[in-house]
Amino acid sequence: MNKVSKSPWLLHYDASSCNGCDIEVLDCLTPKYDIERFGIINTGDPFQADILLITGGVNSQTERVVKQLYSQMPEPKVVVAVGICACTGGIFKECYNIKGGIDTVIPVDVYVPGCAARPESIIDGVMKALKVLDEKQKAMKEDRR
């Protein structure tokens, strides 16, 4: 990718992760990896977010929250599942209080596997998400015509 067409804002939510991926997501914001060099800011507000980063599998508690956060984000929006638990349920798949990956609840655009997902792969996933965001934006514009 040569050019980033937008400075997207991230929203991070921990669905039921072990913390490992969460601290790696936070790590992306700190000096060594510094995702802000791509113009990306971590926000706490779903109404201003373009990309939703979710870690951990879903249970019936967080299902509501995840759905609500997703519905509050403006279109176009992209969901990135960070870590193997968010992709499929991972090592916790057989637990009684885990439903499975994030895609059982909301549509996921980019999967970032790993336990815990490394910051490099998270950044890579976010860059892929940007591409998806661009495509969705273009599709929306064409719809409007």
């Binding site: 921990d14 039921s16 072990c18 000096p31 706490g44 967080t62 916790f92 057989e94 209080n97």
Partner: protein
Amino acid sequence: MAKRSIVPFGPQHPVLPEPVHLDLILEDETVVGAVPSIGFIHRGLEKLVEKRDFKQYVYIAERVCGICSCGHGLGYCEAVEQVMGIEVPDRARYLRTIWVEMSRVHSHLLWLGLLADAMGFESLYMESWRLREKILDMFDETTGGRIIHSVNCVGGVQKDMDSTMLQHILQAIDDIRGEMKPVVETFMQDYTVQSRLKGSGILTKEDATALGAAGPVLRASGISYDARRLGYAAYGDLTMEPITAAEGDSYARCKVRLKELFQSFDLIREAIGKIPDGPISVPVKGNPSGEFFMRIEQPRGEAIYYVKGSGTKYLDRFRMRTPTTSNIPALVEMLKGCQLADVPLLILTIDPCVSCTER
């Protein structure tokens, strides 16, 4: 007449990386009560002992929490080894100690960063996390993982460290120690930091015992108790004294954790100086039969691992009581009487780890 209202706090909150919910009962701006509600990340890991045998379960125990992962693996393995009467080789005991102390350094630096972030002190947050990267690089070099290491196994450790790695660790902790100086000065002497921390959230010595607090929260209230003194892993051969503070406020908790960082540097240095040569694990025969309560000191406080087996491959019961579980009642007590604006900061001073609490 003060107006009473209830303010929900969380689950998704900018200060907290993890979901936890509190109902704050306010009189005007002052908190008079708090009802914690947890359960957002409950997975039911303890139940998985029925599906994974006791050797495989180490990987699950390590994934209870990503921050104290190394310690959870250690606690579980030590408990199973006690039940089975396994004598771990000396080199493995020292390797475990080095890794666990490194994870304490990483956890405390992470906490310092989050505390600074909660105060809105962005540059201090970035600086703490920049220093933390050096430890994560050492984890990467010695174990191959940054967060989840999977080094512990029943009967010893899975990976060895050669002398170059040990030298690199010494180099890294020396670097951090040098660069920590301005960070420590800012936390301890900066006017803004002091005005947020001093005198807030006081937990008295009596309350700390009565409410069953653990770890730095307990020690910051003047009680000298550190489970490392019990001498598990290689702690029996190393010299250490629990670090305490008398005040019991947020500032004291911050001070205790800062001092523990330097204590960990000393312990790592001592362990690397004393580490013997030899095998790193012993073969494990048979199945665990019996029960044991293991106490170890996690970065957040004393954690208890209970293992019960009846001679089969699968354990009957595994339970862990993590430090945050016992610090929540203390937190509720601390919150009483504070201002609404101080709530996020006070929650952080117990260093909450929600995924540990709910498992």
